[in-house]
Symmetry: C2
Subunit: 261 residues, 2 copies
């Protein structure tokens, strides 16, 4: 029997901080067919509110150092404001969305990141095995679109701040047993570009062999490299394809498709 | 065939503002048998944060006037911070809780309160027919404990602030077709008291006839009257019993049970 297809969409700060763009994306998402899960990141709102409250946001290597006060704010923002606005907006477009933190239904459990050189505070690490795939399957079967925010829990009552890219990838891998999984990363460019200065130079498809070539020619480097390394890691764990493109193009074919071969 | 029993617990600000009391209550809740739904109110945190941000909380007849900035804050507090802390804490006690605003799974839809003498802003009114009883039933069947916060939506993308007592009562009535429903209001007293100065004077049971007597003798008056009026309204719409007592006594029989006869 063929497995059903589920697409995991991930949206980040760039679109969350722009209400009009976000609304357009959600309307487009509502019009696409098939089973879906949406994972959203944070955006700048939490940092703005922290500053208004006299707190100083601290980031190391792009990761937020999360003390107790920061955890409260990001939980309010990600699991409260952003998650509920996205869900309400999807309901407006006729989609029965249901928002979840990792604590809800124990859908994603993690561990507080061990302190090595840096103490990130209440930041969680997770693996595909931390995902309650059975519950996500039940929700999809009930006709719901799960909307995941980047707050998880440790099972001992502690909420933990985490990264939406990591959640999207872990959920995709966790569902690969039961579904044919597509993992769709939305970001600010049209895809993986042959020439970073030219938005029209999207590489339509990259497989493991051409990826090795592109790396050797240094066409893929810098910021794109970790994204693609993570994408191929997901493919190697059973995800069928990873799609990278702009949020406004989720309904068409302007994007880069990554697959093993 | 006998219907299964589901108990709707409602907790308010008094307990939410006291982390130790809240944790004790949730541990007790985890140890009680049977199907359950938890509805929580707001607490003082949202007003405190508003003041820290230079906003002025405004209440009329105990109801919060909710402009756009206030709606953001209460959504963050109720659907974000409080809801996720309660869920994470229940997970710690081995209960598979799942937090919901009314927008999630379209579980409670409402309408923005029409402006008459007072414009309450983004405040929602709801009825038992606004409750998606089918989804709550599916979640209960999946072994989950739904945790509802007092934020609902209008189906058109607008979140609305509402009242946890009203949600608890509407959910109880909506489930009365499929279940034998007990509606358990937790508050700061041990129950309905014969003498407000004496916590030991709890009236164990009140039915429609004795309620009429107690009103006539003015033993029930002031703050208790609207609570009991709402309780009897729920009983008249199919709820089996309404229980009023202190959060710390949910596991024992120190409380007042209201029923029609």
């Amino acid at each position: 029997m063929n497995k059903s297809v589920v697409t995991i969409y991930k949206i980040g700060g760039g679109i969350i901080d722009d209400a009009a763009e976000l609304s357009k994306f959600l309307e487009l998402l509502a019009s696409t067919a098939g089973l879906k899960i949406l994972v959203h990141g944070g955006g700048k709102g939490a940092s703005t509110m922290m500053r208004e409250l006299g707190l100083t946001p601290q980031l190391i290597n792009g990761r937020r150092v999360t003390d107790a006060a920061t955890l409260d704010i990001v939980t309010m923002f990600y699991a409260g404001k952003t998650n509920k606005q996205v869900v309400a907006e999807l309901q407006r477009f006729g989609v029965n969305a249901l928002g979840l933190s990792g604590a809800d239904g124990n859908v994603i459990r993690g561990v507080k990141r061990p302190v090595k050189n840096i103490d990130y505070g209440y930041v969680g690490d997770l693996e595909p095995a931390s995902v309650n795939a059975g519950l996500l399957q039940q929700l999809l079967l009930a006709g719901l679109l799960p909307v995941l925010c980047p707050i998880i829990h440790d099972g001992q009552g502690q909420l933990l701040n985490t990264n939406a890219d990591t959640i999207a990838s872990a959920v995709a891998v966790a569902l690969a047993g039961a579904y044919t999984v597509k993992l769709h990363y939305c970001f600010e460019k049209n895809g993986v570009l042959r020439d970073v200065a030219d938005e029209q130079s999207v590489i339509p498809q990259i497989d493991a062999a051409s990826y090795a070539d592109l790396k050797q020619q240094e066409i893929i480097a810098d910021g794109m490299l970790p994204k693609l390394e993570n994408a191929f890691a997901a493919l190697n764990q059973g995800v069928s394809e990873v799609i990278i493109g702009h949020a406004r193009n989720i309904g068409n074919s302007l994007h880069t498709v990554l697959c093993l071969k």
